[in-house]
């Protein structure tokens, strides 16, 4: 009997441990705005599914990238599937705020862009968290560096998450799902995500508090 119990406990431990390693979170984000591509500004939008495959690893190191899948729509171009990565709220160069760094590509185009969250007054944090500045290029071109985007105004395209639109916000909130997470850890995973996000933001926006 003791052996059976030991085996069950061992199995439970292994199961929990493996589940803990793999548990993750996914959410959807849509943005619209203006892209500069092939010498012209064009109205553009992206629909992204962001997957944080290992939320524990990400919460320990914000430079661990999430993966992106989705679609890119641009005036006068067919809708294109895209894949890529998103680094969420890693510290900016020289500890200059926090960055959300998007890198994705389609069959013919690639995009590199950042949202820059910095310590400013008022409601700027909403703008910072929802305004993506970046560059669309032919696939294979040398992408701009984060420093180029941040300090040399090298960005040419601007996409916005419509935080003022209730339907967009609802769709965003409702899109959160956990991955490989037992039911009894769903809240914990979501809490880790929220805690990590707001912890990083607090370090930038309220450094005197944390």
């Amino acid at each position: 009997m003791k052996r059976v119990l030991a085996c069950l406990l061992a199995a439970l431990f292994v199961g929990l441990a493996s589940a803990a390693q793999a548990r993750g979170l996914a959410f959807s984000e849509s943005m619209g705005g203006v892209a500069f591509e092939d010498g012209e500004y064009r109205n553009a939008s992206v629909s992204l599914r962001v997957t944080i495959a290992d939320i524990d690893a990400w919460s320990r190191n914000l430079n661990v990238p999430a993966t992106i899948t989705g679609t890119l729509a641009m005036d006068r171009l067919p809708v294109q599937p895209i894949t890529g990565t998103l680094v969420i709220l890693a510290p900016g160069p020289g500890d200059d705020g926090r960055l959300l760094t998007y890198r994705f590509s389609s069959a013919s185009l690639q995009f590199t862009g950042i949202k820059h969250v910095e310590d400013e007054a008022g409601t700027e944090v909403f703008d910072d968290m929802t305004t993506l500045h970046g560059v669309f290029q032919p696939k294979g071109a040398t992408p701009p560096t984060v420093d180029d985007l941040l300090y040399d105004a090298a960005w040419t395209s601007e996409l916005h998450f419509a935080w003022w639109d209730a339907a967009v916000v609802w769709n965003f909130v409702a899109s959160f799902t956990t991955i490989a997470t037992p039911w009894y850890q769903v809240l914990e995973v979501e809490a880790i995500f929220v805690q990590t996000m707001f912890g990083a933001l607090a370090q930038t926006l309220f450094p005197w508090l944390v």
Partner: protein, 583 residues
């Protein structure tokens, strides 16, 4: 006019002129960008002015400077310029500085000559180099059929290709260059995008980068072809309030140094009042100097030959005053004034951050970096249209001195938007100057078309030239340009907003930055003031005989609108007139 009226008119004039200047229409890594070039002054002290000269050139703009450079060798020649000499660091960099540079009784050497009219205002530059100091330096030839109504000799030169050669000569001196994609100027890109959008909608429009007389790539704190040290363009967007880094190829870095090297004497702060013909055929040039900067002191200089290059209003004013003092001139004097079909407007608060707010010699705002030369390109609506219906729309920029005023005033002119982001940008502008506000998401447009040249220049009670042109706002070019600017603005969710002076609140007048006519050229004295060489007709002589030694060589001699930025045409006509100078 009571003093308070005068004050109000001055203030409105100042605001209007600065706005107009904004339509007159990058942090690089090389050593010269953003650093002002050092210069050696060209002008001589007033005490060196001689009693007589072989040739006196009045004014130092695109007519006067060319004539001075070409006529100076072998002649005792003096250039008399009403304004002062400007070194790069002296140009105004703030609103207060700029407001202090409007010519008037208290600022006779001001940089901006802004003349208000009931229906149309005129903005020109004042200083050694004339309007080249405050224009956008666009070097583009006129359509050849523009000259179909000009004198026979000009038509002949057009047909033979001789005019092309004169233009090539001027173009080489002005060292025009073109902005490319490497400059990464967003307003240039936005203008291209909206123009191509119009073309896709079936409108016959094409996008063309414009040659501009700006040192974009050549001289990096090095001497140019005339030995004047120039800095590279810093892309600050302040061309029209004077280039504070010395990158513009203004006339004081090309033609005027050439004139001085050939022996010409250049005098500033001397205003020519009127001309008197002497019995021996020479001219007594009545001048006004202001040794203390304000008080007028009258004087005179004798000239064997006089070339008027004081601009459309300046040259016409001198001849109108001369006629009032007895000089017999054509009845056409003062007629054929053209605004060159100019219309200023804004494509306000678009969804594209166009970076059109100049930063001058200040550090650019975060996220801005490059604004660019004021004008870089045109939407060209000339193909397959009758001459009268052709037009261009050029991009512009708001000079730094005007940025704060514009960001606060434009939301009032535009009203609220339906879109959240657009209103957020308006709010940002009202709270502070930043790169992501509505003003920096806007385009400044300078439209150029063709008008009827129905304006008249006349002297007001003070003896100063003013333009009278009732009904100019109803000319077809106005509605045509407004409609197309509106279409450009709407292409990226912006709104067309009239230039403020055109609003009824500010008097509803148009503004031209390309005044033409007043001394139109023609084959007969009944029709024009000068002949094809710029020689002024003597109305007392039999037939159309000109004074051999009195010329007008500037925009005043254009008998109608030119339909493009006129500096190349004026400079080429001056090259032609100089080559045919035999007095």
């Amino acid at each position: 006019m009571n003093p308070s009226d005068a004050g109000r008119r001055c203030f409105v004039a100042a605001l209007g002129a600065l706005s107009a200047a904004g339509a007159l229409p990058a942090g690089a890594k090389s050593r010269g960008r953003g650093r002002a070039a050092t210069r050696v002054p060209l002008s001589s002290p007033l005490s060196q002015l001689q009693p007589s000269y072989d040739v006196i050139v009045v004014g130092s703009g695109y007519g006067g400077a060319v004539m001075a450079a070409r006529l100076a060798p072998g002649r005792r020649l003096a250039v008399l310029e009403r304004g002062r000499e400007w070194l790069p660091a002296d140009f105004p960099g703030t609103l207060v500085d700029a407001l202090g540079q409007f010519r008037g009784p208290l600022a006779p050497f001001g940089l901006f000559d802004y003349r208000m009219g009931d229906a149309i205002d005129v903005l020109a530059g004042s200083g050694l180099g004339g309007t080249s100091l405050v224009n956008a330096n666009v070097v583009v030839p006129a359509d050849r059929d523009v000259f179909d109504t000009w004198p026979a000799a000009i038509r002949q030169d057009v047909a033979s290709g001789a005019l092309d050669a004169w233009e090539a000569r001027a173009r080489q001196m002005l060292a025009a260059d073109v902005v490319g994609d490497a400059e990464a100027l967003r307003k240039h890109w936005l203008h291209r995008s909206t123009t191509l959008a119009r073309a896709r909608q079936g409108v016959a429009a094409s996008f063309t980068p414009l040659p501009i007389a700006v040192n974009l790539h050549r001289y990096d704190q090095q001497p140019n072809a005339q030995g004047v040290v120039q800095a590279l363009c810093s892309h600050c967007g302040d061309c029209v309030t004077g280039c504070r880094v010395g990158a513009k190829n203004t006339l004081d870095v090309n033609y005027l140094p050439l004139a001085r090297a050939a022996g010409a004497e250049l005098y500033t702060r001397i205003e020519v009042d009127w001309l008197e013909r002497l019995a021996d055929g020479r001219w007594r040039v009545h001048i006004i100097t202001r040794p203390d900067g304000v008080t007028a002191v009258r004087g005179e200089v004798i000239a064997g030959s006089v070339v008027l290059g004081a601009g459309s209003l300046g040259s016409t004013q001198i001849l109108l005053r001369s006629r009032a003092n007895g000089l017999a001139l054509s009845p056409a004097l003062g007629t054929r004034f053209s605004a060159n079909g100019d219309l200023l407007g804004f494509g306000y608060n678009t969804s594209v951050q166009a970076n059109g707010a100049g930063f001058g010699t200040n550090p650019p705002l975060p996220g801005e970096k490059r604004v660019g030369p004021t004008i870089t390109a045109m939407a060209d609506y000339r193909a397959n249209r009758p001459l009268a219906q052709r037009f261009l729309i050029e991009d512009g920029a708001v000079p730094h001195a005007l940025v704060d005023a514009a960001r606060l005033a434009m939301p009032l002119a535009s009203g609220p938007f339906a879109d959240f982001l657009a209103n957020e940008r308006l709010t940002k502008d009202l709270l502070a100057m930043r790169s992501d506000g509505a003003l920096n998401h806007s385009m400044v447009y300078l439209g150029i078309g063709h008008d009827s040249a129905g304006g008249r220049v006349q002297l007001d009670v003070s003896g100063n030239a003013q333009v009278v042109w009732p009904g100019v706002a109803q000319e077809p070019f106005v509605a045509r340009l407004r409609a197309e600017m509106d279409a450009h603005a709407r292409a990226f969710a912006g709104r067309y907003v009239d230039y403020p002076r055109s609003s009824p609140i500010f008097g509803g007048a148009l503004t031209t930055v390309h005044p033409l006519g007043g001394c139109p050229m023609a084959d007969r004295v009944e029709d024009g003031v000068v002949n094809a060489d710029g020689q002024v007709y003597d109305a007392r002589a039999n037939g159309s005989t000109p004074f051999a030694n009195l010329r007008v060589v500037d925009g005043a001699i254009a008998p109608g609108s030119i339909g493009v930025n006129p500096l190349l045409t004026i400079a080429a006509l001056a090259e032609r007139a100089a080559a045919r100078f035999h007095a």
